[in-house]
Homo-oligomer: 346 residues x 2
């Protein structure tokens, strides 16, 4: 096999087909203004040389953009990973390429450190992160290139004046989950919360926590203090200890399924039965939720669909002729399994 020579360019194809490079460009981009015979000759030349268009050159020359950069939180989180998966799938189907850059909470993020990640100024971006670095990235991009960015966030259903935002209605889902526990007869529900952004502009509570509070208030129940946890299972295991050891606690709504796993484990280790002594409900319906023991009651979230939606929204914003995706998603649905039940009478 010959050593890999330099790849064929549009000029090589043009020479072989006996046409100008522009004609080749027309054929490649499917312009109707090419005679069938010419088109065939060019196609043959393309096949013979194994020609592939260079996306970099195409973008540089001002052609149609075909790449997105995703700025995301830690991909080991189920939500981020699933959203990314949705974006990638949709992008691949559209022939786009996806770059990814992780916003590490351990780093300090200046505006420059964010824009520096982009291959070029004006690169289309999707931000998938709810924490501090994510908020910062949102702000930075909104200031520098508002037309070429989309953020996945908590959708409030208020048809916001933020046409770049897309997401799930976490609040409504939390309400539903909390009501489920109250309906089972629990006098109140505790909440083991995922981290939230701490910046000045950022929210103090996640929408998940807010929905939980709202449901308790509406039912006229006591709202116990939120217990905050980190993202990791070991952190959650530590954070949940006081809750699990408190015999007056009969129901815990966890900010996600990882936290719920830690809570169940913690309960098990000190001999409290789930759901007999303690009901535990998760969030996200991760793949393992149905296969834990006890199987986890949780809220199903279609992150992958949101990822797809984010990609479609981005295309729409970049090119008005692409239809705008609907901003409402199959609303999150509670899946009742074995980890929640009525409280023991005493």
């Amino acid at each position: 096999m010959a050593a890999a020579k330099k790849a064929a360019s549009i000029w090589d194809v043009a020479r072989l087909a006996g046409v100008s490079h522009q004609t080749v460009s027309r054929v490649v981009n499917g312009s109707p203004r090419v005679a069938p015979g010419t088109r065939d000759r060019v196609m043959d030349a393309i096949a013979e040389l194994g020609y592939r268009p260079n996306r970099l050159a195409r973008t540089l020359a001002g052609g149609a953009v075909q790449s997105v950069t995703v700025l995301t939180a830690d991909t080991s989180l189920y939500g981020s990973e699933a959203s990314l998966r949705g974006i990638e799938k949709a992008a691949r189907a559209a022939g786009w390429s996806v770059s990814i850059s992780v916003l590490d909470p351990a780093e300090t993020h200046s505006d420059a450190s964010i824009t520096m990640r982009l291959p070029r100024a004006g690169e289309p971006v999707i931000v998938v992160a709810h924490d501090d670095p994510g908020m910062r990235a949102r702000r930075t991009l909104l200031a520098s290139q508002p037309e070429a960015m989309v953020a996945i966030g908590e959708y409030t259903g208020k048809e916001p004046d933020e046409p770049w935002l897309i997401g799930l209605d976490d609040g409504a889902a939390a309400v539903e989950a909390t009501r489920h526990l109250l309906d089972l007869g629990h006098s109140t529900v505790h909440h083991l919360a995922i981290p939230t952004a701490k910046g000045t502009e950022a929210v103090l509570k996640s929408h998940r926590a807010e929905g939980w509070i709202e449901a308790l208030r509406q039912a006229g129940r006591h709202v116990p203090p939120v217990v905050y946890s980190g993202w990791s299972i070991p952190e959650a295991f530590e954070a949940v200890q006081p809750l699990v050891r408190d015999e007056t606690v009969t129901a815990i709504l966890c900010g996600n399924d990882d936290l719920a796993l830690a809570a169940i484990r913690a309960a098990h280790l000190i001999g409290r039965d789930v759901p007999g002594d303690l009901s535990i409900v998760g969030f996200d319906n991760t793949p393992f939720a149905a296969y834990m023991t006890p199987a986890l009651t949780t809220v199903n979230q279609d992150f992958e669909a949101v990822g797809r939606g984010a990609f479609e929204l981005l295309r729409h914003r970049l090119d008005g002729s692409v239809p705008k995706p609907k901003p409402c998603w199959p609303s999150p649905e509670l899946i009742v399994r074995d980890s929640s039940g009525p409280p023991k009478r005493r």
Copy 2:
């Protein structure tokens, strides 16, 4: 705020600083052949205009490459996700950008469908996949651009004539896990296997399965037939049923922790105690392994380190002056928890 004008180019900076575009290029790339005063003026102009180099143009013009494309299996698999994370981390630290493209087993992958994913011919690639599409991608790239590719695979320890391969020694790890079970007193060990590539050139068994066989042979034990599973937990749950219902089976080595979770769940549902009636060992040490009930005995795998290594190896191959990373990894280590124990006497 003014509408986002076109971003500043190297020419804009040059004009403002009163130098040639080439001098700006020199400053940006840290050439020593620039007078300090000139450098300062250029730096000031860069700051004032908020100039950022365009990586596309740089690559196109033949400058240093600063991007990798990762071809990977489903990112919802822990191993793929963790490897990707390692690659991304290392790349980000080096100022490179990472593109990602998922090899969907449901698609048929022609050579063209693989090269078409790359932004340009000659784009550096890391392949993270052991299944059919992954093998195909490996072959395709090896044929078209062998110098600009690296694959993460099963490392055999044979210092292979495949300088583009890097990975973990799955075989040795499987031997260790199997011996652990035999040492506990099990007469033999069954194996619930992850899928393998089925193509003609591909291996019929994963190295994990081969290590398991080797350990059984060395101990002179019966080698039961492999039970094959898909990647997903529901598939594993189905596949493992016959094994779990067979009372002569006392120990199962699972191809990964997801399969182990499914096995434990299946055992639980028909009332077989783990590890009392049945010992189960996993592979990978996923984050949830320590928090399952019972906590899972498994083999720790540092996929993230392999990802980092793959990136370093790629840089080394692209640019000989970058040192070659060591090809041996902290060998996988068995972590004994609660899901494995001695068989019940009968």
